[in-house]
């Protein structure tokens, strides 16, 4: 289910920030209207889980590390062997996945209330995210659709690239406000807009 109360609180200030006089290098948004579900396959059931995710979301994933897809507000990607994030703007995502994936095939955990989804979009997205995470954000190293699990200090983040200049970040809800402020500091240099 969508969470009506954002953890970002008073730190979510719509408008232009940082060095915006020189242009807007990034647009930051919080995606409040999505369900976030983790699906885990048992050893040997990965193909069946991928098929089920495809049936439920229409997103057909390849069985290789980090592979994913997105379409509109729907997305799915792998972040560990046999483990997938599935995101969609529908309150019944967990129920539909649970019907498609019996316990013999895999397990389902609804993370909607445990994660905050932040979208970083703009020509400076690679530059700004590279300040925060020690992974390669170039399109060669991080192709469109793929996902990554990594850290900003001790704040775990799942990241998916949804197009050439857009990244969706999923951070623990209790760390989301702190991370959001850090993201703002990192983006100030290029000017950013909060929507």
């Amino acid at each position: 289910m969508a969470e009506p109360q954002s953890p970002l609180g008073h730190t979510f200030v719509p408008g232009d920030h940082g060095n915006s006089a020189g242009g807007i290098g990034l647009v930051l948004t919080e995606r409040r209207d999505v369900s976030i579900v983790q699906v885990t396959a048992w050893r040997g059931t990965i193909p069946a889980v991928l098929t089920a995710i495809g049936d439920v979301t229409g997103l057909n994933l390849a069985d290789k590390p980090g592979a994913g897809r997105s379409a509109g507000e729907k997305s799915a990607f792998g972040f560990a062997p046999g483990r997938y994030f599935v995101v969609a703007p529908s309150a019944d995502l967990e129920d539909r996945l649970r019907r498609a994936i019996p316990l013999e095939t895999g397990t389902i955990i609804d993370l909607t209330h445990g994660r905050t989804a932040i979208r970083v979009k703009g020509p400076w997205s690679e530059w700004v995210l590279s300040k925060l995470f020690a992974i390669d954000f170039s399109e060669h190293g991080f192709p469109v659709g793929f996902g990554r699990a990594t850290l900003h200090h001790d704040i775990h983040a799942n990241i998916q690239r949804t197009d050439a200049e857009t990244f969706d970040l999923y951070v623990f809800r209790t760390f989301a406000r702190s991370f959001w402020q850090t993201l703002g500091h990192a983006a100030a240099e290029v000017g950013y807009r909060v929507e």
């Binding site: 980090g66 560990a80 062997p81 020690a134 992974i135």
Partner: protein, 95 residues
């Protein structure tokens, strides 16, 4: 130090947690051989050169890995999933 996770690719060591020597073998749980248990718990060879050890990719895919690392130079010669190493009998005990 960079560890090349088999799932996530090359990542900085800050994403990993050391989980200990991957060469030690647990005595038979029914054993009452105090010397064997003492050696299992406390004795470490600390060799100069290649060493097999468990690492947890706690800041990434959260998989246990078996890493072969040169203790003197930190050069890593192999990385694999611990479950595969344990299943093949080459990884020592589970961490």
């Amino acid at each position: 130090m960079i560890i090349k996770c088999p799932y996530c690719g090359p990542r900085d060591v800050i994403e990993f947690t050391y989980q200990g020597d991957a060469t030690r073998q647990r005595p038979d749980p029914a054993s009452t051989d105090q010397a064997a248990w003492n050696a299992y718990v406390y004795d470490r060879a600390n060799p100069m050169g290649g060493h097999r050890e468990f690492w947890l990719h706690s800041g990434g895919c959260r998989q246990h890995l078996v890493v072969t690392r040169d203790m003197a130079t930190h050069v890593i010669s192999s990385v694999g999933f611990a479950r595969d190493a344990v299943a093949s009998g080459k990884g020592g005990d589970r961490p």
